[in-house]
Symmetry: D2
Subunit: 114 residues, 4 copies
């Protein structure tokens, strides 16, 4: 039968990925402007990595990709790494918020793939 | 001064792009399953084109890209082409809805870039 | 120590991914124009899936992503699925060639990640 | 008539984009590891911008996108901006090489679109 709706579980995961994509790119931009950029190298790098896999994951879900689960499992892993890096810089409001969103996205991805 | 917020105009455009990305991918998947796929060739093609530029545009805004306006102007053009193609297939609910979202996104992109 | 070169193994894998990205997109375009498009639905879909993960994989290697191995393992899996689908349509020259390139890319990705 | 080959002009442009994608990501990674990262902020940012539009442009050509010319014109503009930024840091070998490749890609894109 033709699949014409996206179930709630998938939708929740897709929205979590889009939120995380935005937050990681926002944090990336802010990190690039921080005075202590020397400390932010890994955060800049991981924000980009995370934004890219979140974009792929959200797009994969919305196009009903046969690999959406595998992509989301990888996404969860990268979100966790990014969240852990951001959590080291919680004195920056953008990193603190990004860490939270990353961990939420990791949870949503793992829940979806299970 | 460091830019730490996204203004309303940009945010609206970014959200329109994300909505359009989802709708185009949804329409792409539905078109690939339609019985009359022979008629949907251009729709499948343009849905993908549109989803990809919308992803780039939303990401560009969220990372404060110096080229966000140029990217959104191109996005508006592709959204209009996709919307016009989808509008030819309004008997398919997914195409009808996709056309509407594409035209809205084109407007949001043009408004943002002006 | 700062890493300023890409080793041969990685470079080979990156080039295989770029070749596969091109071939999958080429096959996608050709499939969209085939008379028997009804038979090519899964090929169109998988060509796009494969092109997107190959783009991510090649980009990940070139930017020294900490997740390049994980991304390439997923890439190998999607390349194999795409190659198997293309192999069903070997009477189309583009599918035949795409299947070969997909399998080569899968091998290169697995070798790199091991 | 079905288009089954990519003409030389397009192929040259596609290869220039892929070369530029690799070089920009390579420069991005190297910049993120430079001691004087404080000076490299714009280079990191533009390397990413350029890599992303080059990826889109190469993919657009390979899938015979109806918007390949418009995408390549935008790509040329971003390549030039990235090349100009990289040219300011020619004491870094990776920036020097990246500037050259960016300018070559800008030329190829403009030639293709004309």
């Amino acid at each position: 039968m033709m699949k014409t709706t996206i179930d709630e579980n998938l939708k929740e995961c897709m929205e979590a990925c889009l939120r995380c994509l935005k937050e990681c790119n926002f944090c990336y931009n802010a990190c690039l402007q921080e005075q202590d950029i020397d400390m932010m190298r890994e955060c800049i790098r991981l924000d980009r990595e995370c934004a890219e896999i979140c974009a792929l994951a959200a797009s994969a879900i919305s196009r009903n990709s046969p690999f959406m689960k595998e992509i989301c499992l990888l996404c969860a892993q990268i979100c966790e790494a990014c969240g852990q890096e951001c959590a080291k810089h919680e004195h920056h409001e953008h990193c603190k918020r990004c860490a939270e969103i990353c961990f939420q996205c990791a949870e949503a991805c793992k829940k979806m793939a299970s």
